[in-house]
Symmetry: D2
Subunit: 283 residues, 4 copies
């Protein structure tokens, strides 16, 4: 890994924190969990998601308003209308918002409504987008490309940092392989490697890796066990009705159960998962 000036570790214990909100941080002792649907479909949908996930608790809510779709004739996302939904959600619920930015022209409006800008896999080497995001002061969630090497991945982050923004979280989300039983192959060796190479927080997206909801819980546990700092997981009030990626979305109930089940694994590696507010309330 030559040529890395800003993302590489000076010492094994060198780990950066990326601040998502006053109370939510990536890279600390607490595992940071982002949940939400693949696509923002309506205010009602997002209110249902936010109210349930807030109590789970997850630390942030996700949802796509600009969607990278293989076909130009597939639903491309609600766009500006989706950003307005986010504004409402942020006002009513105490949940930071994460959403994908696909173009430089979208940065300003998305940054006004969202707390973290996601660079999707297909844009991991969209270098002009990376440079532009390097000039913002928003936390960036950088997803690994579908066939990006670890070296290319950390260099993509280096683009953002070298343009001035050090608030970058890396996300392993599975790489392409010859086997289509799972949608992609979750590369936890890359997560372990990234934690040794870079001081940036590293999270894992088991949903896009698995492509099948019944595989998500074991992969989420594995991710935390191998050192991931967080998770981003797709969930939906009615998974089978999701406009995209229905096969991999968890129900909100399954999402809550999953979050709870992660606590012992986190503890086993010296980390914590936040406890549910209702349980706290009872206590």
């Amino acid at each position: 890994m030559n040529n890395l000036k800003l993302v590489s570790k000076s010492l094994p214990e060198h780990n950066s924190l990326v601040q998502l909100s006053e109370t939510v941080t990536f890279g600390g002792q607490e595992i940071t969990i982002i949940g939400g649907p693949c696509t923002v479909e309506s205010l009602e949908q997002m209110e249902t998601v936010a109210s349930k996930l807030q109590a789970a608790p997850v630390q942030a809510i996700r949802g796509g308003v600009y969607k990278p779709r293989t076909s130009p004739y597939s639903f491309q996302g609600l766009g500006e209308a989706g950003l307005e939904i986010f504004a409402t959600i942020k006002q009513r619920y105490n949940l930071p918002v994460v959403t994908e930015v696909m173009a430089i022209a979208q940065i300003e409006s998305i940054a006004a409504s969202a707390d973290m800008l996601q660079v999707g896999s297909r844009n991991m080497q969209n270098f002009d987008l990376l440079k532009a995001l390097g000039e913002t002061d928003k936390p960036i969630l950088l997803k690994r490309g579908l066939a990006a090497t670890i070296e290319e991945f950390v260099n993509a982050a280096e683009y953002i940092l070298s343009h001035g923004n050090s608030q970058v979280v890396l996300c392993e989300r599975g790489i392409r392989s010859f086997d289509n039983y799972t949608r992609n192959v979750l590369d936890l060796g890359a997560v372990a490697a990234l934690k040794q190479i870079t001081h940036l927080p590293v999270i894992v997206d088991p949903s896009h890796a698995a492509g099948k909801r019944e595989l998500i819980a074991p992969l989420a546990k594995a991710a935390i066990a191998c050192g991931a700092d967080g998770l981003i997981i797709e969930c939906h009030p009615e998974p089978e009705k999701s406009v995209s990626d229905a096969r991999q979305a968890l129900s909100l109930e399954a999402m809550i159960r999953l979050v709870h089940s992660l606590q012992p694994i986190a503890a086993a590696v010296g980390r914590t998962v936040a406890l549910p507010t209702r349980e706290l309330a009872v206590a």
Copy 2:
């Protein structure tokens, strides 16, 4: 291949022509060859290339002025200064110019200096760039992504056509595999498939596939034998001094020999390769 409205063939003999200049076309009976360096380094370099390739003859000259580099600290291309070199080359030599566009903001200035805008592999699913290029009237050279399926590739072209620009040439340039003996694996099965799926011209880049100059000639011949409509090949006045991709660049002399050697293969599949002007002059 559902969802394709504009790029798919109605009949086996349905083949579109893409016009690069008054005299240069992709998709006709003549094989169209694009040559030139990976990176535009200086006017002197490009004049040497243009004068030699004009006589080869090749039909168009390529060179990168905005370069997608893995590291932010690698040379990023001459940018505007490179476009000025192109303007000079176009004035002095009768060669259309092909160069890569990496961002929407570059389209206008590149379109003013170049005849064909290349979308690089890393941007094949940069959908906002594809949409913006769909609103231009310039021919587009769309390179296949490093791990893009054939279905994703033709859908990327569909994005451009569905936004109004039907002047798209597809380029197979090798896909990622487990073997690093070659830089990538040239997928000529994809070329054969594309010629059956779509009416768009399909060309092949053996240079990025092979990554080694000694493998380029056999792959160029194979590409034409399996039905490719053209080639894009890296060559340089002093390959070993190339600022990028030195290992895969042909010398200009080797490039000229290669072009000549393609004529019998083209003839064997009912196509032609243009004859050198000096030989014509002699005759």
Copy 3:
């Protein structure tokens, strides 16, 4: 490519001949074509195939009697009964026979009935089988593993040669990738590389690479254009009724047309394809 003592070239023009029969050789000026069904199903089937292919002409006939099947419950081949069919075919038609050997225990009986022993992709690194075949005096057709590097492939051949048998022909048959539009990805860069690394003849199997009969002809042409010494192609009297690989088998008529169409490509690279006997008879 360290560690290669026997398979590597001393000089670019160093090319070995592998003798299949008195009149059939791999590695000479003439392209050597092997045709036949995936699986030997009956004497009647093989007689139909042999009589048609003899006139095509192809130089050898193939067919599996021991079949490597993913499931233990799939048809495993006719075994000894298939070898008897081969004995009859060899007696009645002037066609050498190529068939797969899956185990050391099969070598003796197969060697008595067949002229060339094929090592299938799944056994390319079955080193004990390679060693045992190295101790026979039969020509070996060594197919590349599904995910074998070029280096592993030539080292597998080195196993055979180092045990005493120098009659080895390499066969590129496609490697695994992320795209399932084609069954595998035909790696003609490997063919070009192998022709530079080793003096052994190299042939191509476009049938298993493509997995779709309509892609076989362009890939066969590409293979010859890039320097392959021969082809092995699946064909069947009634492709849609084939007990295995039905989707990729050519009809015998399509096979004959394909063989004829290869002549101009072969000529373009200084090779020949044998002319049909009936045309010779007419002339």
Copy 4:
């Protein structure tokens, strides 16, 4: 997954036990750990390994005596002399022995000295070997092929079971990808899937997946978190002097530390890891 009669689960809670010795079982509540060098080099080496690992404790010792090597000129293993070392080790230490069988002819002698026969990745679809192992009464450790799909993997196990031997343990050991930072990509999604598809025990080899010793601990933890029933890990008294795979071998001290560190992860998923005998002795 059609065509599976014997390896598939009838119910989610259907999990088979594979008995390695009177006290060692795969598939129960206790995680089963196999340790040892890539290659058996000497009796002294194996005594050192056995005495340390016995106290770790690990449940079984591994070591190759027949080695699948890419080159015929690489050390091929001690063969019979290695089996004698195993006989001595078994007599002196209470550790079952696991070693690779590469050919049918080796089965009898290996079965006399070893407790479990390993089928290596290169032989996963050596169907005649699978059938022959199906006729033994020894536990089989079946490693996934380098590019085998999950479906092919479970079908390979089905070959063994359908020939009479139901004592099969599956081992995920990484698959080939485009990135050479890790030697292979550990596919824990496959482990999660296998635990849902089949009742057979599933273990993980993080050593061959990672190829770098510093990545083994996090991957071992991840494997257990996602439901693996055991681990097989390479370790060596002097890793840097190992005759093969030196880069990925743990020191014996690191191996012991790793085993201890797995206990909390195992507990978090309702499993156990055996406690060290010396600690027990102290207590």
